[in-house]
């Protein structure tokens, strides 16, 4: 069966109400479920029990004064912030993932051979919802 691959640059990302899409150079969402390993006497194989979901959202991007200022405020704020990722783009009926996160890292870099760039990393908090754009 042939698949229709989508280029990564189609992705769209909203964080804290801020559309980061036009700044992005890379983004990734990692969701994991904690595993309990049950290794019982008399058994040959372990059993796995699935537990709590944890996740991390990362984004690397070019920076300008406006976005750097906004991201600093998000990191220093006291509230969790909303996020939404559409890996295939924001048109119907593409899927999207959303939830809340605590922004835990913000970096800025001035290289001598490239544009000012940086990144954010957020720890996902609470439920992750999968939906579709309409």
């Amino acid at each position: 069966m042939a698949i229709t691959a989508t280029h990564g640059t189609k992705a769209v990302l909203m964080v804290g109400g801020q559309n980061l899409t036009s700044y992005l150079t890379n983004t990734d969402l990692a969701l994991t479920r904690e595993l309990a390993h049950l290794k019982l006497f008399g058994e040959k194989h372990e059993q796995i029990l699935l537990g709590i979901v944890a996740g991390t959202l990362r984004a690397a991007m070019a920076m300008d004064s406006t976005i750097a200022s906004n991201l600093f405020d998000m990191l220093m704020g006291d509230s969790l912030i909303a996020w939404e990722l559409g890996p295939f783009g924001a048109t119907a009926p593409n899927i999207k993932f959303s939830g809340n996160l605590g922004l835990s890292n913000f970096t800025l870099t001035n290289p001598n051979n490239d544009a000012v760039n940086g990144s954010i990393e957020g720890a996902i908090s609470g439920t992750v919802t999968k939906g579709v754009y309409s």
């Binding site: 979901v53 944890a54 220093m76 605590g102 922004l103 835990s104 870099t109 001598n112 544009a115």
Partner: protein, 244 residues
């Protein structure tokens, strides 16, 4: 939203009384918040609570020089100084209204590398206490005519702030007194933050200063200064950050 991309070479970094931009080849600014995880039996997902922020700044490729006012002299002194010194990081350039991240930094490693390359000293500093998001009021440069053009921040704020001064040079016999002043109508200004007077004799101590302000801060800010002495000249920078 369209990005206004800026080349990395526009970045500037001031540490105490030194503009480090001519020395370093890159600046890496990393701000972290610790996080606590709550994993309840019911719910299925981790709940995150954010904690304390911490800051690390790495200045890459710094070329090492020696002598009075050199990077080695200033960083050696910084390592002996328990209180730390002010820093200002301007990722998009130094101009009136530019974005600046300012704070108190401490320097704990003094190292150098000699090899088949320029003699270098890696510089890493850690932030202590609050990092302020600031706007430049007076870009680094030789003294002009007081007062500065005002910076319009759009509205009054009520949670105080911090003013930052860096003096990178001052001529012999000169004295520089700088104040940040605020106004509600950009016509009548009052003192908001007054820095200590800087001379050649005390620049090693007062070459950078932070003045904290509490309460209301009016919409318009500007710097006013007095530079005294014969043929007096000084190079300095002022920014202000409102707290949230």
């Amino acid at each position: 939203m369209t990005i206004s991309a800026i080349h990395g070479t526009k970045g500037r970094f001031y540490f105490h009384g030194l503009d480090m931009s001519p020395y370093v080849e890159s600046i890496d600014f990393s701000l972290d918040r610790s996080r606590a995880e709550h994993k309840p039996l019911a719910g299925g997902y981790v709940n995150i609570a954010l904690g304390i922020s911490s800051l690390t700044i790495t200045l890459g490729g710094a070329a090492m020089t020696q002598g009075e006012g050199s990077i080695e002299e200033q960083m050696w002194e910084a390592m002996q100084n328990d209180e730390g010194h002010c820093f200002s990081y301007l990722p998009f350039g130094d101009y009136r209204t530019a974005l600046a991240f300012c704070g108190i930094s401490k320097y704990a490693n003094h190292s150098m590398t000699a090899g088949d390359d320029v003699l270098r000293m890696p510089v890493g500093v850690v932030g202590s206490h609050q990092v302020d998001k600031c706007k430049v009021i007076v870009p680094l440069g030789i003294t002009g005519i007081s007062p500065s053009i005002y910076v319009d921040e759009g509205a009054l704020s009520s949670k105080g702030g911090a003013a930052y001064l860096h003096v990178t040079s001052i001529s012999s016999g000169a004295a520089l007194a700088v104040a940040v002043r605020d106004s509600y109508d950009h016509l009548t200004f009052s003192d908001l933050a007054v820095f200590g007077e800087v001379t050649q004799d005390n620049i090693s101590e007062l070459g950078s200063q932070r003045v904290l302000v509490e309460g209301d801060i009016n919409r318009y800010l500007r710097a006013e200064w007095v530079l005294t002495g014969e043929d007096a000249e000084a190079s300095w920078f002022v920014s202000f950050g409102r707290r949230q």
